[in-house]
Every structure is written in C-alpha cells, then in structure tokens.
C-alpha cells in the first residue's frame, strides 16, 4: 500500500540542539514536501524536492535544511533548534503531474524545543 511514513512521531530537544526528521514514501512519487502546521497559520511549506539530489526552497525556510537522498527518502534538518520551531511537521508526496496531482501526507512529527 502506497504510504508516507514519518519518524519519529514525537521529539523533544533543547534549544541549540540538532534534530533530523525523516520521511519515506513508497508511492513512487517524484515530489516530496515538508510543511509545518501551526494554529492560525495553517500549513506552511518549508522545503520541497522533485527528485533525488534536488532541493527547492519553500515559503518559511529559515533555520531549516533538507536533503533528498533517494526518490523515497527526504530529511528535514534543524541544526540549531529554537523554541519557535516547536510545531507539528508533515511530510507529503505527489507525482506532480500537471499541477493537479494530490498530496499524500504522512502522520506527522510533533517537535518540542525547550
């Protein structure tokens, strides 16, 4: 069954800490995305990629890096975590066909920076 799997489900780190969020999709999709979800702001795009080795900057990229190592795997890196990065993070994938293809979302990673 096609899916997007995120890990970990929950993460607590200290300010200044180093965090890596992982995402794997088995949809054979070209596009992968990282969003953060915050009340009052909705879903905001951090980074996205349209293939292994490709990286595109989203709308709220500051403080985040990302890397797409394979078609299946997309990682989000917080190298100096700050409390403002406390959020629910979603990964998604799509085949990107014609601008109307659907997103498949993972179950989310809840990050707390203390």
């Amino acid at each position: 069954e096609a899916a997007v799997t995120q890990s970990p489900r929950n993460k607590v780190t200290v300010t200044g800490g180093n965090v890596t969020l992982s995402c794997r999709q088995t949809n054979s999709h070209n596009y992968m995305y990282w969003y953060r979800q915050d009340t009052g702001h909705g879903l905001r795009l951090i980074h996205y990629s349209y293939g292994a080795g490709n990286l595109q900057i989203g709308d709220v990229p500051d403080g985040y890096k990302a890397t797409r190592t394979t078609q299946e795997d997309f990682f989000l890196l917080l190298e100096l975590a700050s409390p403002s990065q406390t959020s629910l993070y979603f990964c998604a994938s799509s085949d990107g066909a014609g601008g109307v293809s659907d997103y498949t979302f993972g179950s989310g990673t809840r990050l707390l920076v203390i």
Partner: protein, 115 residues
C-alpha cells in the same frame, strides 16, 4: 505571490444544518483549487479538487464550485453530520509553478458539529 484566505477560526453548527466554509484566493495565473480535511490526530486528506470553471466536484456530500470571477472556491454541504467535525484547508496550485505542484494552503477552518 499566491495566497488563500479562509473563514477564520472556528465554525460551530448544529447537526443537520447546511455547511458553508469560505475560501478566496489570489493567484497571478489560473490556479487549481483543493479542499483537504484533517480529523483529530490524523493526517490531512484530499476532500475534493477543482477542474474547470462551472464543473462542480463532489465527495462525501461536500461540493465546491470554482468561480474565477470572484476568485472563490467555497465548500458546501446540505446537511452537517457529527463526523464532519474536523479542520478544513483550502489550497491552491498555481499554473505558474510549472507543474511542480506546490500547494499554498489557507490558515484552516475548524468545523465543529454539535448534536
């Protein structure tokens, strides 16, 4: 750039009453519009999406019509059910993005249906 504005905050309805969640957008080019629904502690899932003007997509009793003249894609349902309680997102994919399928989401509207 692209932007999406939704009915703000929380909408509370009594079961059986009609649902209407507003969505308006700004886009330089002809966009595709989507509604996603997110139930508590779940991932967002596609509810429905637009095609061309005057075609009305429907799913699970919900429908929405893309009106380019008013830049709107309001979500409607004739009779709310308790199971409709969820967070609803309107989203836009602009043609100018060249097929990269980048979605811009609104801020979300929480629908709470009460008995």
């Amino acid at each position: 750039g692209d932007s999406v504005t939704q009915t703000e905050g929380l909408v509370t309805l009594t079961e059986g009453l009609p649902v209407m969640l507003n969505c308006t957008y700004q886009s330089t080019y002809s966009p595709f519009l989507f509604w996603y629904v997110q139930h508590l502690n779940e991932a967002p899932k596609l509810l429905l999406k637009s095609f061309t003007d005057n075609k009305r997509p429907e799913h699970q009793g919900f429908h929405a019509t893309l009106h380019k003249s008013s830049s709107s894609f309001h979500l409607q349902k004739s009779s709310a059910q308790l199971s409709d309680s969820a967070l609803y997102y309107c989203a836009l994919s602009g043609m100018a993005t060249g097929g990269n399928n980048k979605l811009t989401f609104g801020q979300g509207t929480v629908l709470s249906v009460i008995p």
